[in-house]
Amino acid sequence: MTTSLAFTAALLFGVGTYLILQHTLSRILIGLALLSHGANVLLMGSGRRGTPPLIGSGDPDRFADPLAQAFALTAIVITFGVSCLLLALAYRSWILTGTDEVEDDVSDRAIARGGHPDKEITDEEAWHEQSLDLDGASQDTEPAGRP
């Protein structure tokens, strides 16, 4: 049982790592989800196996370790919340850029070219340009941060 859990965790870690190294956001997201599943499986495997740990239901020596399960539950809830936020960010990124690609950093690219970025674009301007590009779609792309 522990061995199969270990193999499952290893498989999830492997696939997750491969996906995170891809260049599209959706794959990175799935990769992260798989990675945290792997960590949770590992957490489940870290406690003792046994019968359900309910007081009075049997011999306490044969109970499963409830602490490991509580850890896993907490970790799952936290990962769930952060994944939702990440999905929202990915959606926003898709609205703003129209692609699913991970962008390079503007300033880094400039340094790599040995020059300086041609033009500094503020959020305001980037947003303005983008809304012109998307034309009619501007209504539902209004950034939530605006009062």
Partner: protein, 496 residues
């Protein structure tokens, strides 16, 4: 006194809830935020005095006894970090209220900021490795929201990098927790300290390295720092100032706590940590020299100076750790004031690119002074706040025969001075070489809105106070370092 322990976590959480309820009135929200953080500051100071007098305090929230329950512990290191952190959080909150921009008016800003404060306090106070994970997540989730609150393209791009790398670090943290729990059957830090000694040396060594990687990502140690200079500069300067001052330090704190508490001299990877510290200093400062935006230069300087703290920690002597702790205190205040000054520069000059700024020593002399003092302090010029911890680090390094890292740290100090001088001459001394694209703001006598300038002045005064009171602060840090190297008091406070 034990009843005070949960308050630095509970009060900000309560404030965050109240802040949401008071969502219609920005004024009410601001009053709540300022009151709560001021209260947390007072409590931290009270705890610091009490702990320094009587030794470590521990409380078991929920009434379950030590290895099972939720343990909160305050020893000298915890309370030092809490005090500096809460002073800084309060200063930056005032600055954020004064800063013009969309984010500060966002209905969620104050409550998310308070949740960040709760997460930071929880990370310092927790006596339980799993709760450290929860506290990290609380702090990080709040920081994701603060970073991307504006919703602009750059912020989303940078936020994405930041969230993905943090999630990856969290998954790694959970995995190491699972392995630790499987090996020892406990996650209580004081209990782990005893149980860890029973494990085979190779396994202990592996755990030590695993924890360094997990916390090294948060602390932005070489080679795990690449996310930081990409993501920090996109946020508004108040948010970046908090991140720069506190978040990486929480990672350094976790490294210091876990390495000293869990592992003995044989299983600590001291040489690895020293090598990482040296590389962090060097690569960080070279990045700072290559860039030409105020925010970026400062961000790379954060990375570089994390190296100094880790250098002190990695010596694992009382003198080295004490120097590392004082360096952390100095760096939190100096770095935050630099970012606040950077925000003022951007506000006055309309850009953060060096070529577009210039001549501000005449247009905004107060901002120039506000930048110069922490900048020189960061480089370690006497008599400012960076001098004493740097001298102590070099001294501890020479005593411990770590000549190479001492040489690196001295060279990096010079390069820090160079990178600060680069900002100084381009922004304040020389005329601008390109026309600014955004409008520059007509500045009053202060050089910016009073609520932006005054908190920056306050933090600079705090850094001067650290320089003036370096003797007592160093003694306190030395007592904290002795506690860390001999954790019997800590373990006894928790396990009884």
């Amino acid at each position: 006194m034990n009843a005070l322990l949960p308050l630095p976590i509970l009060l900000p959480l309560l404030g965050a809830a109240l802040s949401i309820l008071a969502g219609r009135s920005r004024t009410a929200q601001r009053v709540i935020g300022i009151t709560i953080l001021a209260a947390v500051t007072v409590i931290s100071v009270v705890l610091l005095v009490a702990v320094d007098r009587d030794g470590a305090l521990a409380s078991q929230a929920g009434g379950w006894s030590a290895p099972l329950g939720i343990t909160l512990v305050a020893d000298r290191l915890t309370t030092i970090m809490l005090t500096v952190g809460s002073v800084m959080l309060l200063g930056v909150l005032l600055y954020a209220i004064g800063q013009p921009g969309a984010e500060r008016n966002h209905v969620g800003f104050q409550s998310v900021y308070l949740i960040l404060a709760a997460g930071v306090s929880a990370s310092f106070l927790t006596g339980d490795l799993f709760n450290l994970f929860v506290a990290f997540e609380m702090m990080l989730t709040a920081s994701y929201v603060l970073l991307t609150l504006g919703g602009g393209r750059e912020q989303v791009r940078a936020g994405m990098t930041y969230v993905v790398i943090s999630l990856l670090a969290s998954a790694l943290f959970i995995a190491s927790l699972a392995l630790l729990y499987a090996a020892t059957g406990t996650v209580n830090m004081a209990d782990l300290a005893g149980k860890m000694a029973e494990l085979p040396p190779g396994l202990r060594n592996a755990f030590a390295v695993l924890l360094i990687v997990v916390f090294g990502i948060k602390a932005a140690l070489f080679p795990l720092f690449f996310w930081l200079p990409d993501s920090y500069p996109t946020a508004p300067s108040a948010v970046t100032a908090v991140f720069a001052g506190l978040l990486t330090k929480v990672g350094v704190y976790a490294i210091l706590r876990t390495q000293t508490l869990f592992f003995d001299d044989i299983s600590r990877p001291a040489t690895l940590l020293l090598a990482m510290a040296g590389a962090t200093m060097l690569v960080g400062i070279l990045g700072a020299i290559a860039h030409d935006e105020v925010d970026r230069i400062l961000s790379f300087n954060i990375v570089s100076h994390i190296g100094y703290m880790v250098m002190g920690i990695a010596m694992f002597t009382a003198a080295g750790i004490a120097a590392g702790i004082v360096y952390m205190v100095h760096h939190i205040v100096a770095m935050t004031s630099l970012f606040l000054a950077g925000g003022l520069i951007e506000h006055v000059g309309g850009s953060s690119r060096l070529a577009r700024l210039g001549g501000m020593v005449r247009t905004a002399p107060i901002v120039a002074v506000l930048f110069l003092i922490p900048a020189l302090g960061l480089a370690g010029i006497p008599p400012l706040s960076g001098f004493v911890p740097k001298l102590a680090l070099v001294d501890a390094g020479l005593v411990g025969d770590h000549h190479l890292i001492v040489a690196v740290s001295l060279v990096v100090s010079l390069l820090t001075l160079y990178s600060m001088a680069k900002i100084w001459s381009a922004v304040f001394w020389n005329p601008a070489t390109e026309e600014p694209e955004q409008e520059t703001h007509v500045v009053g006598r202060l050089g910016g809105p009073p609520l932006m300038v005054l908190p920056a002045v306050g933090l600079v005064l705090v850094s001067l106070a650290i320089a003036a009171g370096a003797g007592p602060i160093f003694d306190l840090a030395e007592r904290a370092a002795v506690d860390l190297l001999d954790p019997a008091g800590y373990i006894e406070a928790v396990l009884g």
